[in-house]
């Protein structure tokens, strides 16, 4: 056979008829993804970019409106509010999830056979449907009767009105989000278990204390995972939707007793503009702003990460 047994460097072979036939099959295998990418990713991206320059309510044809949507975007106080809330949430959520998960993973690594049990406990909230999480915390955070404030009362703290005081709504949501940190714990635990034991032995020989070992062996060796979870959790937190929508939106905002501005997240606002008010053009502009924002933040993180992340060996 012309194809080599050892993996060849692509492009170095001359393209024989056999290789061309193989390439045809390759594209046949890739075809579903390529079609899906064009129809459900690339196409829609272009379409939403175009829609962002129009006024469109689904019923009537899109009407070109130039930069109107973007002008409205920068002057709309509700957009600013929801964006501010979202960034505030991400700035609290991401570092807290990372720090707590790392702490739990470090403990988990050290408890031997009990590890499996605890890992299960920390992962169960991740399995809970987000709507149920929202409902559960709506009640747990209840001012008078909620479990959280009852617990705080035990240690003499008069708990805040988590679900009604505009200043406390966001911290309450962060608290809820911390309940579901299980997958980050598992990622860190896997990374910790991959740190070769001889590195610690070498550190011990050099007389390193626990902090030095952590700072100069553990942290660099798991920096890849820290970096990964930083990026993934940031992207996810900027798109927070389901739990908060469940708690504070839907029929509730029509009830009028609660000003939902304090719980307004960017994607929730976008969703309502699109599907409740049928401002598809404006919502598309919002979507593109979010996309550019996430792109910018991720690129900045990657740039920063390249300075701190330790790449061992370089596989593949």
């Amino acid at each position: 056979m012309a194809t080599s047994v050892t993996p060849a460097v692509p492009g170095r072979r001359r393209r024989s008829p056999l290789a061309r036939r193989e390439a045809r099959w390759a594209y046949l295998f890739l075809a579903p993804w390529i079609v899906g990418f064009l129809a459900f990713t690339a196409g829609p991206m272009v379409a939403s970019l175009w829609l962002s320059f129009t006024e469109y309510d689904v019923i009537n044809a899109p009407r070109f409106s130039g930069l109107d949507n973007y002008r409205q975007l920068v002057s709309d106080p509700q957009v600013a509010r929801s964006l501010g809330n979202t960034v505030y949430y991400a700035a609290l959520h991401v570092p807290l999830v990372m720090a707590l998960s790392l702490g739990l993973a470090l403990l988990l690594k050290r408890v031997g056979r009990l590890q499996g049990f605890f890992r299960t406990v920390f992962y169960l909230p991740v399995m809970t449907p987000a709507v149920a999480v929202g409902i559960l915390f709506l009640l747990l955070l209840n001012t008078q009767d909620g479990l959280v404030n009852r617990g705080l009362a035990l240690v003499g703290i008069d708990g805040p009105s988590w679900t009604t005081d505009p200043g406390w709504v966001m911290p309450g949501i962060v608290l809820m989000s911390l309940w579901s940190l299980g997958s980050t714990v598992i990622i860190y635990l896997a990374a910790l278990q991959n740190v070769p034991g001889d590195l610690y032995e070498a550190a011990d020989l050099d007389g390193a204390g626990p902090w030095t070992r952590f700072r100069h062996v553990t942290l660099p060796m798991i920096s890849g995972s820290l970096f990964f979870t930083l990026i993934v959790n940031t992207i996810a937190s900027l798109q927070m939707f389901t739990e908060v929508y469940t708690m504070y939106f839907g029929n509730r905002q029509t009830a009028g007793s609660f000003n939902s501005d304090a719980a307004s997240f960017y994607v929730i606002h976008l969703f309502r503009e699109a599907f409740q008010f049928l401002h598809m053009g404006f919502a598309s502009a919002m979507a593109w702003l979010l996309f550019l924002l996430i792109l910018g933040i991720t690129l900045a993180q990657v740039k920063l990460g390249n300075r701190f992340v330790y790449y061992e060996g370089e596989d593949r």
Partner: protein, 305 residues
Amino acid sequence: MTTTTRPAGVGTVVVPVPATRPAPRPEDGRRPRWQRVLFVLALLAAAVVFLLPFVWLVGASLRPREYVFAPGFLPVPFAPDNYAQAWQAMPLLTWLFNSLVVGVAAAATATLSSAWVAFGFAYFRFPGRNLLFGLVLATMMLPFAVTMIPTYLIWNRLGLVDTQVPLWAGNLFGSAFYIFLLRQFFLSLPREYFEAARVDGASYPQLFWRMAFPLVRPALLVAFVFEFKASWTDLVKPLIYLRNEQLYTLPRGLKVILDRFGYGGEQQWEIVLAGSVIATVPMIVLFFLAQRHFVEGIATTGRKG
């Protein structure tokens, strides 16, 4: 698209931690006993904090309405009737069934198509492979909001809004996360094995279907349970696409229960809680059945590459 792609198509979301290592030496041996006890106690405290919400949920869902917010965790007085009431008030059985059907359809299509595509990336060498694979990974970082509206317009044009089709049919085209995961597993299969089958006259689809597919069964299960869970817990798509209550999946139904019995009307929180338990229990059961696959899936995609 979103981050720089590292050489050889390994880029974006992939964590640059080396592939495999010899099992780490247990370093617990030399740790003093009191320290280990301390660690276990700290974890126990954390575990209690993580479990209490579940305990309260189940306990409160079994109490009569006026006791739902009473202090304590136990279902006293005991009111299992809440579940019967929830069952009667809302078409929960229909929603359970819908969630199951949509979940299986979503998981089966995502797994099959992703495996097919992943095999293409793993086995073949062709021009543009690394670029395309980088593109696959890049789509993982794309916010769903960017494609949400035009995707809705597509299904709308096809007349499939207010059917369950949009909830799973997008998975027919493979899903980046699973393509990445399954490609890793296909790459670990010895190539000689396939070359030999080629010499014996097997076609490429046969290589995939008869050899590769069965060999990566554990990874297929990982993809299946992950997508099933994702589908079961999703609210966004049902919110966008479903109007008819008879077509709702459980999370969508649960939101209606909250809006109708929680805030609205008589504040029948016991029904809301019973509904929450009913929506959650299948996921907990799934986790205990497939725990290994969940942990492996997270660890693999967070580690390998």
